[in-house]
Symmetry: C2
Subunit: 339 residues, 2 copies
């Protein structure tokens, strides 16, 4: 086991200093190739944009996804004791066992689209602190969780999806989104696994209490993550940051994943340029969050499961885009007259 | 070679008499299964609806797609001589050669999603009549083309996608949609492969001329198909009708495929219950056509290529839905607490 990537918050901040940019020449070359493929110009719509974007991050005019990786991070939340979820906290560990046994939705999707699936349970027996009473994590906790995310990205991964499981984590994500972008607790708090009525009101009050408790410290995105986030959110942020350093493109999942990713964008503008929005979740505030990030989702199918499931469905769209772009014949190769 | 399925229009009409319905028990059983899978109720959104719908047509509470089939029909249009396309008519045959050589978008998509791809060129050396001057097809032509579509559906096909290639066929589809649902030529006529300005005005005028020419006969959907359609549209209608008789679910492609399919719905209400809308095309009138059919597309990615390409991308979504539904563990199997 190598030493953790981050020991302190300063270590984390330093990792934002030298983010690689996409390969502009590869993008131009991909667009030039697209223009001579056997189809009317623009006829593959968003698929053409995805192919060019992938070309930039992979540095090739014919990008491919040979080793897609899905990493699911699981963690427990002190705030879950406040009854913010429709499910009891022990479900986090039960679902980790389900992931390991191959029985969850993300297992089926990983298999369907040929992705490697890794599951990392982060100190499940040690929930974060209740964020309405104290910072969810210490600085050591945050650095360890982000390091776990960093280390989880496989050496040969050429596309990354981060998923999560953690009873109570839409509550943390709502507080985090509000901390990063302002607005009221009720603007960012939704049904999660399925709370409504009085339970939803109590969830909103919990988010508000957390925001009030930590108000003075929330202008720093990493501090916001530490205080109202959770280990799986920190790990996703660490993995997505690691992907950027390796120029590995990322497909964002739903509200919780996007909130974790937004920490990076708020810490440094452009830090999510290597990430596209996989899907629009049915979790109410996801659309607003994607809007703040300026990202349009690939699919919108009413999913609200987490686990990376929405991004995994979008992986099929990315595979379709690359199959067309990299596999099609040109007008000259096929002897087809141009319009 | 067996004799054609249809010799006359009466033969075709007779094929609407005994359309099988979905298996209501299988739908109920699929919904009951969905309710105990390891996820919050409803958390897979549209994927859950797709799985239940597939269950009904396959008559199984755990539907699967083992042998998806894409059939592309190609034909030439007399009306193409009026310059309604950005491409010359010889491109139809050139693209058929490209399909056969594996170089087109649909070849890559079929491979990406594990679908069988068949290509049927329908009398390319014998374009239909110019619909502004005469019926596009004789009754024999129509019966032959619908028979070709009927025969193209493979015995073991468990999901069907119909695609098309035919320079000039958005002009035919626009006229057909207007014939089936009313409205002005300009409401249904779009850019196709990429016409704009004066060329688009001329395309609208061509559609209007065809509608005026055949006005008295357009209230019969099959007559509308014969007079302003084309062989590839008739073949798609025949294939989709054949699929219904075999309870094979269908994913509709874009504007041209949907216009062909709409002939069935207008001939008998409910005749497209076995078909779902794969995608929303960028071809302007597709949204209006899907709206008339009461079908919501699975994806909306700005495609406007035809060939079955949008439906093929949607096949990935259907595969995702079935993988989850049929492969996931139940709460009891996984030992996960229910909410």
């Amino acid at each position: 086991m190598t030493s953790p990537r981050f020991a302190t918050l300063d270590d984390i901040r330093a990792a934002f200093a030298d983010l690689p940019e996409p390969d502009a020449e590869a993008i131009s070359a991909a667009r030039a190739r697209d223009a001579v493929l056997t189809k009317p110009p623009g006829a593959l719509g968003r698929l053409e944009q995805v192919a060019a974007w992938m070309a930039g991050w992979q540095g090739s005019d014919r990008p491919r996804v040979a080793s897609p990786q899905i990493v699911v991070f699981a963690a427990n939340h002190g705030v879950a004791a406040r009854g913010v979820s429709a499910f009891p906290p022990e479900v986090t560990a039960q679902m980790v066992a389900n992931f390991e046994a191959g029985g969850a939705a993300i297992n089926q999707l990983a298999q369907a689209f040929g992705a490697r699936l890794d599951v990392h349970a982060l100190d499940l027996d040690r929930p974060t602190e209740d964020m309405t009473e104290a910072p969810a994590m210490t600085e050591d906790d945050l650095a360890a969780a982000m390091s776990a995310g960093w280390a989880a990205v496989a050496e040969d991964s050429d596309l990354l999806i981060c998923g999560e499981m953690g009873i109570g984590n839409t509550t943390a994500a709502a507080a985090l989104a509000a901390a990063l972008y302002g607005g009221r607790a009720e603007d960012w708090t939704g049904a999660g696994t399925g709370v409504a009525g009085k339970a939803l009101e109590a969830k909103v009050a919990t988010v508000k209490a957390a925001l009030d408790r930590h108000e003075a410290a929330l202008s720093d995105p990493l501090e916001a993550l530490r205080r109202v986030g959770g280990r799986e959110l920190a790990a996703m942020a660490g993995a997505i940051l690691r992907a950027r350093h390796g120029r590995v493109p990322v497909i964002l999942d739903g509200f919780i994943c996007t909130a974790a990713a937004a920490v990076l964008e708020r810490a440094r503008h452009g830090a999510l340029d290597h990430a596209l929005a996989g899907h629009l979740s049915a979790e109410g505030a996801h659309a607003a969050l994607l809007d703040r990030l300026g990202k349009a989702p690939l699919v919108s199918l009413g999913l609200r499961l987490g686990e990376g499931s929405g991004a995994a469905v979008a992986l099929g769209v990315v595979q379709a885009a690359l199959a067309c772009h990299s596999g099609m014949a040109t007008f000259a190769e096929a002897g087809v007259s141009e319009g």
